[in-house]
């Protein structure tokens, strides 16, 4: 593992794709997209959450535990070979089988040697209609993570983590230049017309907020397409819209809602430094007064 930061700029590539119910097909499609991203100069290439399968959490069914795989395992080996061959960093989300009865929504960071240089396990686990993740995923126990790679310091979080300023803050404090959020978020078809725009706006806005609060790049990598696991379910229309925000919260790359595509952005350390010098929020944090963050709620503390 290289711990020396050799570059002051690196190019991230976000692969926005759709998934079928054929795992091998999804992996081989992802591999093709990674090659394309590498051809186009991508140095840190990130796939969407649980990229090798449909978003199975729409239903609670133990059969889907069969989709889980060990880390290291078959998929990390295959992705590792690509990373080594193309000399790139790959962020690959996986349904991790850790032990019988312990599964995680995880991601690995694979270095340009092909080795796994990082493992992150999703810390915040949702449970909402058609997003029954608490059934499948044990909450992460590795804490928040930022990984020093050969091109730069990369913070990794997953989907529901997006809504937690604490996760963004702690990861940024570990020196990350970018927060990468592999994601699987979409509309309930019956809600899209009435609430779709507001839901999307909230999702992008809070992440832009993390960029601003921390003077850091933020990237979300979503899937596209309507996925319907059976005729009993309405399915989820994944809204794509993968994006990169700069350290001032300005959108510098934005994907469509419905197309497979790769978007690129440069992570420029001098831009981070410039923004943080102009808005020195880290300098003025009241670290003496934040310990209450570790409570659930403080109802009795009013006044």
């Amino acid at each position: 593992m290289s711990t020396k930061i050799e570059q002051t700029k690196f190019k991230v590539a976000l692969i926005q794709m759709s998934m079928s119910d054929d795992v091998d097909e999804n992996i081989s499609k992802a591999a093709s997209w990674i090659d394309k991203a590498a051809n186009e100069g991508g140095e840190v290439i990130c796939l969407p959450e649980l990229f090798s399968s449909h978003y199975f959490c729409q239903k609670e069914d133990i059969k889907y535990f069969n989709l889980a795989e060990s880390i290291p395992g078959k998929t990390t080996k295959l992705i590792g070979e690509i990373a080594k061959r193309r000399k790139i960093i790959i962020v690959a989300p996986l349904f991790e089988k850790r032990a019988p009865g312990i599964y995680h929504n995880s991601l690995v960071v694979i270095g340009n040697t092909g080795d796994i240089i990082g493992l992150y396990r999703k810390m915040h686990i949702p449970d909402d209609p058609a997003f029954y993740e608490k059934f499948y995923f044990t909450p992460g126990d590795l804490g928040f993570k930022s990984f020093k790679t050969s091109v730069g310091n990369i913070g990794t979080l997953i989907c529901w983590d997006q809504w937690y300023p604490e996760a963004a803050r702690i990861t940024a404090m570990m020196g990350a230049s970018i927060l990468l959020y592999p994601t699987a978020i979409g509309w309930h078809p019956h809600e899209k017309l009435e609430h779709g725009k507001a839901q999307f706006d909230s999702w992008q806005t809070i992440q832009k907020g993390h960029a601003i609060a921390n003077g850091i790049y933020v990237a979300a990598v979503n899937r596209i397409g309507l996925e319907k696991l059976s005729d009993e379910t309405a399915g989820i229309e994944f809204w794509g819209s993968s994006f990169v925000a700069d350290p001032q919260g300005i959108i510098i790359a934005q994907a469509s809602t419905d197309k497979e595509e790769i978007i690129y952005a440069d992570v420029d350390l001098s831009r981070i430094e410039y923004v943080r010098q102009n808005w020195p929020f880290f300098r003025d944090r009241r670290v003496d007064e934040y310990e209450k963050i570790s409570k659930r709620f403080l109802d009795e503390d009013s006044i």
Copy 2:
């Protein structure tokens, strides 16, 4: 002090105004605007940061310490009389003289009996060109605050606090239905053309982010006008744009950049409950893993 929440809805009024170098004039203008807001149904009425004077922090000059006043004092008495007469809650920011050599950028919450029911001292103190607040203001030592009033639970923060997710989070955890941010923010005239829009967008976006993260109303109350303390300084063009965001981060009231005006919004507890039931972020917070928030930075923790 009433600790019983009697209403499920209350109307906030934000008074966006300009200030002159005449303190008495500013206070009497504020009093008129408060009366107007009360006439129009405002129940919680909030003034801008340091509303009784020019934004003197553009320069470091000990003469401006003479603007500070005790709490309680002349201004809180006058504001208290209005609050009692109109049976309203008033949030009045003040330059607080606490002791010789200890001054704070503070606010009081005055209840509908005319009594001071809350005191908050700005926790995060900026120091940027023309915002030399560290010279004047001792950082707050009362912690973050939410106050139970006769109409609802009100969280108060001041200006630079806006950039800190920790401040919003802790205040929301104390049961606040709204975060009120009296503010004095504006453009350096020489920067406005190039950076003005991006600066404004960042400011509003991060606050919308606090609304979303916490399922809470957020209101910022800014001043307007170009204030130039002397011919030696370029002055600051305060950008107004006071606003209220709802618990999903949707702007529900928005003021102009350059007019004195009052904007109103209903704080509806049922809307907060609806949003938090749909996006139950508080439920899934990883309170076991947030203690690092209390550190300044974590450079050694990468990987």
